[in-house]
């Protein structure tokens, strides 16, 4: 049963990710991204990482994609106004994308292919309570430092907005 679910979810994730880059309308791309996030969330659930599952849904599928939709819906990215990219930008994009692909393939080659997903023992670390215990004892300093990261991100958002508001 788990295996069947695994393959269905993988097919959904890969299909969704392909549709993200193949869809002509950027709004459809965003919607397929959401589908992909849901499929990946399902994988987390199969690994008993409940908290990661819910974070994936709330933060990625819920919050970040709302912002993406905002930007795409409001920035008038429909066909007529889409600027055609110069040739050399396409070349550069292809090269950088290819490099990423090679890196990923290299990482895959180094993986132990005997280890299939069902062999990984279920652990309870993904449950919210256990995660909380670890996060607030062992990983306390990184946790506190992450709040500074949030602060800088918030100030960055405000700075970005300042420029936009002045234009209006």
């Amino acid at each position: 049963m788990d295996n069947i679910l695994f393959f269905i979810l993988s097919a959904l994730a890969i299909g969704g990710a392909l549709m993200v880059i193949l869809a002509r309308n950027p709004v459809y791309s965003v919607l397929f991204t959401i589908l992909t996030f849901f499929a990946i969330g399902g994988h987390f659930l199969l690994l008993n990482a409940q908290f990661l599952f819910i974070v994936n849904i709330i933060v990625y599928a819920g919050a970040i994609m709302v912002l993406f939709l905002y930007v795409i819906m409001m920035l008038n990215l429909n066909k007529q106004s889409e600027p055609t990219q110069p040739f050399f930008i396409k070349v550069i994009a292809a090269i950088s994308g290819g490099l990423l692909l090679i890196t990923l393939l290299g990482a895959l080659r180094g993986m132990d292919s005997d280890k299939v997903i069902s062999d990984i023992p279920y652990s309870d670390i993904g449950l919210v309570k256990n995660l909380g215990k670890v996060l607030f004892t062992e990983y306390l300093i990184p946790f506190e430092i992450s709040s500074v990261l949030f602060l800088s991100a918030m100030i960055g958002a405000v700075m970005l907005g300042k420029k936009n508001l002045k234009d209006h």
Partner: protein
Amino acid sequence: MEILPIEVIDKLVIIVAVFGISLVIAMYSTLAERKVSAFLQDRIGPNRAGIFGIFQPLADGVKFFMKEEIIPATADKGLFILGPSLSMLTACMTSAVIPWGDTLELFGRVIPLQVTDINIAVLYVFAVVSIGVYGIMIGGWASNNKFSLLGALRASSQMISYEIAMGLSIVALIMTTGTMSIGEIVYQQGGELYGIGALDGFAWNVFYQPLGFLIFMICAFAECNRTPFDLPECEAELVGGYHTEYSSMKLGFYLFAEYINMFISSAIMSALYFGGFNFPFIDKLDLSHNWETIIGVGFFFTKIIAFIFFFMWIRWTLPRFRYDQLMRLGWKILIPLSILNIIITGLVLLLTL
């Protein structure tokens, strides 16, 4: 192939029952809304279809099915259909984690009256709420109508603003309960309030989290787009808001989703803060377990209906906010208040332990 195990059949029956009950209650909420508004405005309300108009929701439903559907030529057809469907879907999804009652003992088996009790149920509700933005946003954008887009923009901005305060008020609740399973939260509320024996069965979270409940309730109003937060569809400025272009069953989905949302948020409020199916002095009655459960379910639905009435009462009493007032309430009042609530809860918990 073996026959389905009996537990699965139990679950299927409960799932179908939950769907049926939430749809019927949402249907009759539409009638109740019109009756309540009529009562508050000294009118009679619908009274032609059946006695007291009890067949009015059925007539409305048939009308939604039979009306011609108009999809504007400039609209994005796929997304135009997806929008209301998503709205309806997210409205239906939440009821999976609500405990409708205690357990029933039938045919020698114990059947919990809850579809499922996942141990991150509170976060699941929160996740469904955060997905709920898409139905309105997609529908409003796909209509290719200026009113719809403005409505969708307002709706999404309002919903995400109030989601934060809602999350923070839930955090304070989790601090006192220490669990995220709604079933367990309800069971905990069956005890004695402040440890006083005379107040048995009254340990409702609303007495421990009054401020948190107030914030949660205001946010629930905002998430359901009910008056005084119905700016996304305010007819005085935006014709019909995000559903201006919709007709037939798709309009029906949007309107119906609002009523299901109202029912579900009433259920969540009564489960999280008002003791769910617990009722005071349950042990004094000396009834068999099954009877206690059935009376408990009755109490739970009474609480839900009281909340639904409250929703309607507010709608026909208060005027609508202006947009800057709405944002000020969300960001400058509710969020600081809910952070304050977390701090107070933490201090009180530590000092009373």
